[in-house]
Symmetry: C2
Subunit: 173 residues, 2 copies
Amino acid sequence: MKPPSEKSAGRRKSRPSFEPLQPHEIELADFFVRMAGILGVPRSVAEIYALLYVSSGPLDFDHIQGRLGISKGSVSQGLKFLRDHEMVLSVKEKGARRERWQPTPSLAASLVALLRSQVLPALEQAQPGLQRVLADAQQRGAQPEVIERLSRLNRWNSRALELAPLLLPPPGA
Amino acid sequence: MKPPSEKSAGRRKSRPSFEPLQPHEIELADFFVRMAGILGVPRSVAEIYALLYVSSGPLDFDHIQGRLGISKGSVSQGLKFLRDHEMVLSVKEKGARRERWQPTPSLAASLVALLRSQVLPALEQAQPGLQRVLADAQQRGAQPEVIERLSRLNRWNSRALELAPLLLPPPGA
DNA sequence: GCCTAGGTTCAAAATTTATTGAAACATCAG
DNA sequence: CTGATGTTTCAATAAATTTTGAACCTAGGC
């Protein structure tokens, strides 16, 4: 057990103390935050990405936390999100224990992966339900107008699912 | 427990009672709700759209409220949103005071309008800021890698703004 | 094994966003 | 003009989401 107060007893690693974001960094972060907002990506995630994006080399966990002034938990979760969506890469130097992070080369690819992960599951999951809705309407002799709408929706869904792997090839392709 | 349904209690004009959504309607609503969620559109808005989408004719305010079981305020705001994004049309019958609503013919066009309204303003607003960030980086002699990233971001932004009016023509075009 | 730097988890707290409903407003018929 | 109907507004409330931080893992050096 560690006593919580570690003022200046014995050998203390000097708290690195990171600079807050500079104006130009804030500007870029704002841009990413707004764009991310459209897709429902949390502010902290966008900020982490923005910071890596304007930084010259890969940054480690503590730098990210320090410069953004957010909690460990947020950094961890944010990096997990970015990792899961293939938006960042870790560079592990040999002999070093920490991981250091940088944005993946192509922002375009990153966005595509993100969209893919959001839209595809929804389309897949909806497929059977939509078919059922259409069948239901036909069976009940709904208005032709409604049948037509529901048919179109089904066709779209199918085509989107067919096209998806071509336009947005998954990691392994 | 459901509120007492007075289906059988005489047809009185004072309190028209509406049926809750049927299973097939719920299914479609769920689909729209999920899709809308990706773009941050509230549940109630998606539900309204879904209801209009499966309904044979245009529906009036009270029908929408009654069948979805949501508040007047939500219906009003939801319809405003859908109107603003050109996703619904009102059909005013002559001599009638109420407006009746139906989805616009093309769902595709509706989605495009929606995206347009979300993304374009962000791109426009970001333009000067992004240029400033790049200029800043160049002036401070940032790493070529960073300069390159920021340049690409600027080019993208510009091109997106140029292309936008072509791909997503505004109402008047 | 033991220790600890490095990172994750997750319940609680903070924040943001959506919904409600009563009051205000608007429009039309009489 | 007046009253009734139909709709909007918006402050209060409810619901959903994000952030925090302390407890908890995990791998690697000793």
